[in-house]
């Protein structure tokens, strides 16, 4: 077959696929929002048949006049909407091709909406939902989700973080379908999801080759397009939202050495940001005495040691405010800390606690940090690896760096407004089990 004949066949098959199949096409997953920036949004979805990838969108629900598409026909669709206005609600739907060349076809699925992130820099009240180790696919995961839905009510979620082990047991595509796409369809289509890689996700994903299920499913910023310095990899990345800089690290599968690429990038990224808040998130906790033990060199092959001894000093030196991790299926929340990089027996409250108290207005007083960026002014470490399950057996929960330690499922909510950060932990029964406030002044 000549090249020309082959090209003609390809063209014909594309046409047939596009025109004949879409009548029966249905959505398998999504749409879901990725790599949000003030002026762009990546929308992904999967269909059970190959179709052209097209999104119709606009700022009015009944006028989706703009279109964005990507070339070719696919069942795994990735479309980037560009030239958007910051901080603006957009309505969108998946479009199918029409019968004529210039005719719009029917919509696939409902009309959804999202709000683009505001311009990086100025403060804006921001709600962040944090889920660690959620992917059990069971009623506990559902209960945790439903509690948050009731809690947030009509207040929209601006973005949500997954701290790894997003889909049990093996991070396969089927695991992700049930644990993520079937579990959180409303959140997926309305708020951008920013994930971290966990050890269970890594069973079917490789960071060095950027391949496997996790890396196929997510579109994450590698070129600094969402803020921060270009990492060149989806394994670790950063992004901005209003006055917050988020840093996602790969605590499982990337080189965690001091001279490694992740560390070099982190140093550059942290020293570059001008955002007022810095929130770091990754899978393996720096301190835990839950279903994992951060004092054990063998536990998780020393990854927790590495994150505490190698990465935490750099994060604290850069003025990080909040460190969110999972892996341990419990909830543990520290004091306002600095400089504790050893095992728990080396913890010395007189040296490592920057401010005593529980961080509550109604209790020992909110935590306070200077507004000017100051190294080692204190951070709060939160282990919240319990959005899908807690431990079925008793666990020690006695790490001395922690103010609150709970063996119960739940998820966390971070609200940032100007120079105030409010943190809340909700259990699966809908109880507010921990909270604290951090103020910069």
């Amino acid at each position: 077959m000549t090249l020309i004949t082959r090209a003609l066949c390809l063209l014909l098959s594309s046409f047939l696929a596009g025109s004949a199949l879409h009548g029966a096409t249905s959505l398998v997953r999504g749409p879901y929002l990725q790599s949000a920036t003030p002026t762009s949004m990546v929308i992904r979805w999967r269909t059970d048949a190959t179709e052209p990838s097209q999104i119709r969108f606009g700022t009015e629900k009944d006028n989706l006049a703009r279109t964005a598409s990507s070339a070719g026909i696919h069942s795994e669709h990735v479309v980037q909407l560009s030239n958007l206005t910051p901080g603006t609600r957009y309505f969108y739907a998946i479009g199918l091709p029409g019968k004529g060349a210039n005719q719009a076809g029917p919509l696939l699925g409902p009309i959804s909406s999202f709000v683009t992130p505001p311009l990086a820099g100025p403060a804006k009240a921001t709600r962040i939902w944090v889920l660690g180790d959620p992917g059990t696919k069971d009623e506990v995961q559902m209960a945790v989700r439903d509690v948050y839905t009731r809690f947030t009510g009509s207040r929209p979620t601006d973005l949500w973080l997954m701290l790894g082990d997003n889909a049990y047991p093996d991070g396969t595509d089927a695991d992700y379908q049930k644990a993520v796409f079937d579990m959180y369809p409303d959140y997926l289509r309305s708020a951008p999801l920013w994930p971290a890689l966990g050890n269970h996700d890594a069973r079917h994903a490789s960071s060095i080759t950027q391949s496997g299920v996790y890396y196929s499913i997510f579109t994450l910023p590698t070129r600094g397009q969402a803020g921060g310095v270009a990492s060149g990899t989806e394994a670790y990345y950063s992004f901005d939202y209003a006055n917050i800089h988020f840093v996602c690290l790969d605590s499982h599968d990337s080189d965690r050495s001091r001279s490694g690429a992740m560390m070099q990038w982190l140093l550059a990224d942290l020293s570059s940001t001008q955002r007022e808040w810095i929130i770091a998130f990754f899978h393996h906790p720096t301190y835990t005495k839950g279903t994992h033990d951060s004092d054990s060199d063998k536990d998780s092959d020393g990854r927790m040691n590495d994150m505490r001894a190698i990465f935490l000093p750099v994060l604290e030196d850069a003025g990080v405010d909040l460190v969110l991790t999972g892996h341990s299926h419990v909830y543990e929340r520290s004091w306002l800390l600095d400089g504790h990089y050893g095992k728990s027996q080396t913890f010395d409250a007189s040296r490592h606690v920057k401010q005593p108290g529980d961080g509550r207005e109604t209790g020992g007083g909110v935590y306070r940090k200077p507004r000017k960026r100051t190294a080692n002014a204190g951070e709060v470490s939160v282990v919240t690896g319990n959005a899908g399950h807690a431990s079925s057996k008793p666990v020690p929960l006695n790490h001395p760096a922690m103010v609150v330690s709970l063996n119960e499922p739940g998820s966390s909510v971070v609200d940032v407004d100007g120079f105030r950060l409010d943190f809340t932990f909700l259990n699966d029964k809908g109880e507010k089990r921990d909270w604290f406030t951090l103020i910069k002044e």
Partner: protein, 273 residues
Amino acid sequence: MRRLTALLVSLSALAAGLLAHPESEVAIAELSRLIERTPLQPSLWFARSARYLEHGRWLEAEADLVETERLSPGFPGLNLAFAQVLLERGRYASARERALLVLSQESENAAAHLLSARASAKLGDAKAAAMGFSRAIALLAEPAPELFLERANLNLPVKVRLEGLEEGLSRIGPAHVLLVRALDLELSAGRIDDALRRIDRIVAQSERNATWLKRRGDILVTAGRIREARTAYEQAKASLAVLPDWLKQSPETTLCLNDLAQALNQLPPAPPP
């Protein structure tokens, strides 16, 4: 004998501590029980070796791979797993041999190319290593920056190493680590203008770029280009001056300003234009 091996491996798994990886330990214990019952089933040995591999327990992984091979010499994935274990255990020639065996049957296996490249690098065969990395990079849709760095660290002419980094920058974008490595290589080769070009790209993607502008000035001083160095230092000062107040007052900004003042004071007089 096999039962004894299985028992020893099970015991060592337990000794490694049940807390180490609770789920993995359960899986390994379950596989060990199955192996006890059906020791002639190669897939069980292979599955357990995969669990050991996942946790860097190379010795136990290798023992299970040996048993898998004894039971089923052509077991799928065996040579690739062997290549990884042997590489981790420092037996580089054998690791490369195994990787090449995979490639003889699957020439487009990126993982095998990568393992072969790493083994070749350890054996001091930079040319073969570079070829392996290049093949792996070409086969991967989104190669990580680490792969370009590994290739750039091989003992090859600077020009070749820089070309490799340039390929990385064009494939995956302006990854900071690639730009910095390229900058270092340009400087090591005394290519000042190329180094400045690299540093300008770093400056462009940094919101707080004073330290990079200062480095630009330092490079120019070393090259005797005093007038340009002064300009770079002044630009660094200007970039600090436009920071938001809360950052302008930060200790690191103060430190950087002091460094810049010192650098400007120490500048030798510029030769007449």
